[in-house]
Symmetry: C2
Subunit: 372 residues, 2 copies
Amino acid sequence: MKVVEIFTPRVEKLKNFLSKKELQNILILSDANIFYLTGFYGNKSGSLLLIMDDSWYLLVSLIYLEQAKKSVQIKNLNIICCKNDKFIKLTEILEDYKIRSIGIEGNNINFSDFCRLKKMLSGQGKRLIDCSGIVEKSRSVKDQSEISNIKNACKITDRVFKSIVRTGAAAVNKLSEAELSLKIEELLVKSKSEGKSFDTVVAYGKNSSMPHHFPQNIKSKDGIILMDFGCRYNNYCSDMTRTVFIGDRKKCNKFKKIYDIVLKAQIAAIENCREGITCSQLDGKARKFVDSKGFGDNFGHGLGHGVGLEVHEEPKINMESKTVLRQNMVITIEPGIYIEGFGGIRIEDMVIVGKNKCEVLYSSTKKFIVLD
Amino acid sequence: MKVVEIFTPRVEKLKNFLSKKELQNILILSDANIFYLTGFYGNKSGSLLLIMDDSWYLLVSLIYLEQAKKSVQIKNLNIICCKNDKFIKLTEILEDYKIRSIGIEGNNINFSDFCRLKKMLSGQGKRLIDCSGIVEKSRSVKDQSEISNIKNACKITDRVFKSIVRTGAAAVNKLSEAELSLKIEELLVKSKSEGKSFDTVVAYGKNSSMPHHFPQNIKSKDGIILMDFGCRYNNYCSDMTRTVFIGDRKKCNKFKKIYDIVLKAQIAAIENCREGITCSQLDGKARKFVDSKGFGDNFGHGLGHGVGLEVHEEPKINMESKTVLRQNMVITIEPGIYIEGFGGIRIEDMVIVGKNKCEVLYSSTKKFIVLD
């Protein structure tokens, strides 16, 4: 797929949406959305992309100018270098346009900044129209180039998990949570990814009951080793969780009952994941099973989330979301059971939604593993 | 310093500010601000802290409940577990209060969420008052416990830089940008920090002209090795940049002229850094020198920024900021010169602002180093 072919349908989709809202323009503020539309990823750069009917403007700080010039993939984009406040430059550009309304990503600008920009533009008789989530919605369905990048990120992640399992109990026993998380990140980089897609979670023993536990300098494992990690490949993310066990096999067996419930819940969701089902229905497939076993209150998060340029993106797979799954959405399926003072078990795969089923993107085993 | 003694003055300061605005309450949304006031750091947890005149409420998702219960350091805080939308629970709590105005951190909520909450509360006849930046301003002046944590983070950072220099040219030559950045992060963790405070920048050769370059799988160094990194210690950050050189000593000497300009500019700023000077004046001390040597256009960012619970926080040290430096502010001083196709050089220290001078928190050399 050529570069231009990637961007053309994205831009068309955006323009269609805007025309439905009777808008000819929009201000994009999210770094990931700017990348999706232009090829420039200025992580936390505060860049602005102003899309007008006839011309596009990318406003960047001087320190991102070289990167922007090298990475922008679309023609006729005006790259504007801003020494100071980008809103001032934006207002100057807009002065030449006789328009009354400008779309804006209200979900990607804080309230104080919104008020400041609104005031600056009111002098020109222009008002801002909240168009939250348009590009995010478009990003939720992946094209072939995106799927290819995500598959590569998942392959690397798979390989790293397998390598950790092969490392064996003796070597893992020597590592603290923080050291094992570092080991994982080292393997991700050495496998030619661009590094981790989020802060690696490694939780030993009872710490695993906290789903977002931050790895500590402790080595005592008490059975459970929960690992939640992922990498980036051409800016696209992977996300995987596996829970394995270490130590005396008989003692580890006390975790098997919970493990099997989580695994069956996960498989139930995977088997029902296809185009047409709503996110809340899919969440329900796993949740009802966990509930039926008496652990409903211990499954304290949604079933999953979309993954792409961001590790958490649309759609959210939870009890409330009425979003309907569509072909080529890429999501995680990750039920978990967390018991304070006992530990937590989570199993997470990434899948591509298909017409009649889904494709699981990992080949790593989900069997109950006690490290040898 | 006891735990209670840490939090009491922070809360007093906040209450004083609110009373000036004739408010008795405020909604805090930033994770760092919630930690500063309670001891709970739910990174990207979407937690809410509602501070009312008579009682405090911390609203967290189920998956952060255990962590919140374990880490909250102040008495009489009601920890509320939210299974679903936290704004619904917040609205229910506020229903019992006969108040008309609620302060809110407008800089820490996006415009769409603000509108949604505003609508929910308008039914109770309550309105939101933007109180952006109060806690951030309070955080900009550090207390003794914060300074102690920051100093520890800086000590670890110092040690890691020295260790990289000791590693020597032969070993560094074998590492790609991505591998050297990983090596730095490994040393940070092994030195008992909580890991990096931001994504490590390692830029070789011409790549260094992009101040936010993302480390690649390339090994060719062409003289320059720019390293910008830091760690966390008890949640407090460090941030350091050093530019060193590798390869033929004669070839490296072509960078010495630029290096000396950056270093002299940095020292000029350090010598003028004290309570009472404005941020723009301090920025000017370095910028005027760089300008006088003809490289003003190549110094494309502010002189520095505050560092604490976040690696970039108040105050911003740039050409526009009228903020006056105060004793016990902790800031970076980091001029740089970036030349496309040639490379970039930046030297960054962290300092504590004092009454009559500042204390530099690193002991790592700033001499022109060619790795042996």
